[in-house]
């Protein structure tokens, strides 16, 4: 399996001297193409910090974060923007959908920012919306969608433009269990189709959809599930 995300001795600390807070101890982690990895741990264990480093939203204090062969820490602002528009999609805990834009406008925005012609961007967005089961909701505004539907729009926005790596931070926080499950099925399908997902969650039932669960505590990996009987 080719690693598409590699963390090599990655550390992250905030502050200096005696007020220094170490969020991540040296971390080594490889995630392969087609792999679904869940990261679990108590609050303050460094889960979200780790995800932000992979997504290029934050830079490591030490070590290297390599995403599809590119050292994320060495990218400038423009490079990071390109990484986020073309390679890595991010689903935030609070979704961050723009309330003034319809579902399809939200989803096509990353492509428009990337300079794609409007018509092309909209066509691609419609396709991804259909893939997440929202073909009929394209012209609705986020406020007119249920929590589960908003979640799907956020996932569609993270995947549009054929981005293969999806990073999700507690994406099912406020959803009931059946709706949460349908979101997990979407993530599972993305990986079964060759994509990669890194999911940060405290919910064991959601983590169980992953091929591998990594446990973080006090900024270090303390254990992980054995790679067993992955649904091929």
């Amino acid at each position: 399996m080719t690693a598409v995300v590699e963390l090599q001795g990655v550390t992250r600390s905030f502050g200096k001297g005696h007020t220094e807070v170490v969020a991540l101890q040296p971390i080594d982690l490889d995630v392969g193409a087609g792999e679904f990895v869940a990261i679990m741990g108590p609050s303050g264990s460094g889960k979200t910090t780790l995800l932000s480093l992979v997504g290029g939203l934050d830079r490591p204090t030490g070590g290297r974060v390599v995403v599809v062969g590119t050292d994320v820490g060495a990218l400038d602002g423009r490079g990071l923007a390109l990484l986020r528009r073309r390679t890595v999609g991010y689903v935030f805990q609070d979704l961050n959908l723009l309330p003034g834009l319809t579902a399809i406008e939200n989803v096509s925005l990353p492509l428009e920012l990337d300079g794609r012609p409007l018509r092309q961007a909209r066509a691609a967005a419609a396709e991804v919306l259909a893939a997440v089961g929202l073909a009929d909701f394209a012209d609705r505004f986020p406020d007119d969608l249920s929590g589960g539907e908003q979640q799907r729009v956020a996932i569609a926005r993270a995947l549009v433009g054929d981005r293969k790596i999806l990073l999700a931070d507690e994406p099912t926080g406020a959803l009931d269990s059946i709706t949460g499950e349908s979101v997990m099925r979407l993530l599972r399908r993305h990986c079964d189709d060759g994509g990669t997902v890194i999911l940060v969650t405290h919910d064991a039932a959601h983590a169980a959809w992953a091929d591998r669960v990594v446990f973080l505590r006090d900024g270090r990996i303390v254990d992980e599930t054995r790679a067993s009987g992955r649904a091929a």
């Binding site: 599972r188 039932a205 959809w209 669960v213 254990d223 599930t225 067993s228 009987g229």
Partner: protein, 178 residues
Amino acid sequence: MSFRYGLLALLSEAPRHGYQLKTDFEDRTGGSWAINIGQVYTTLQRLERDGLVEEADSDGDRHDYRITAAGREQLTDWFAAPVVPEGPPRDELTIKVLLAVAANDVDVTDILQRQRTASIEQLQAYTRRKAQAHPEKDMAFLLMLDALIFRTEAEIRWLDASEARIRHLARTKEGDNR
């Protein structure tokens, strides 16, 4: 739980013979409870003795059974009564953690983590089966998997809560010693 209510529930829909009762019960319960045919017949005999089922018109040497009015009444009572858990938990995991907390040279956090990993692996196995199940055809199986998943999830939440309590106590002690 007694298997007799399983038989009463099936017979309340339609008369059935012994082997039918065995296979239908196993289907209904999502394959979670295998019954041997001898058990079916001894239970039927007891139900008949108590006047809760009776033999229906026999077709050759195959005996069909049907539920009686008294049987129906008992089944209704059983469905209506909530299930009350019996006594305090005595499962091995709970006891192991309680003893580990009291023991001096045992790393409880380590025990909790090993258990958490094993429980999540179990949860992954259930989830893989769920992912492959058919939402309509395998309804009973899905409901059973949900039950197993929620139970395992509860166990993991208990592990998390136990660890949080132990860490909190350790910090308080550290503070006292300063």
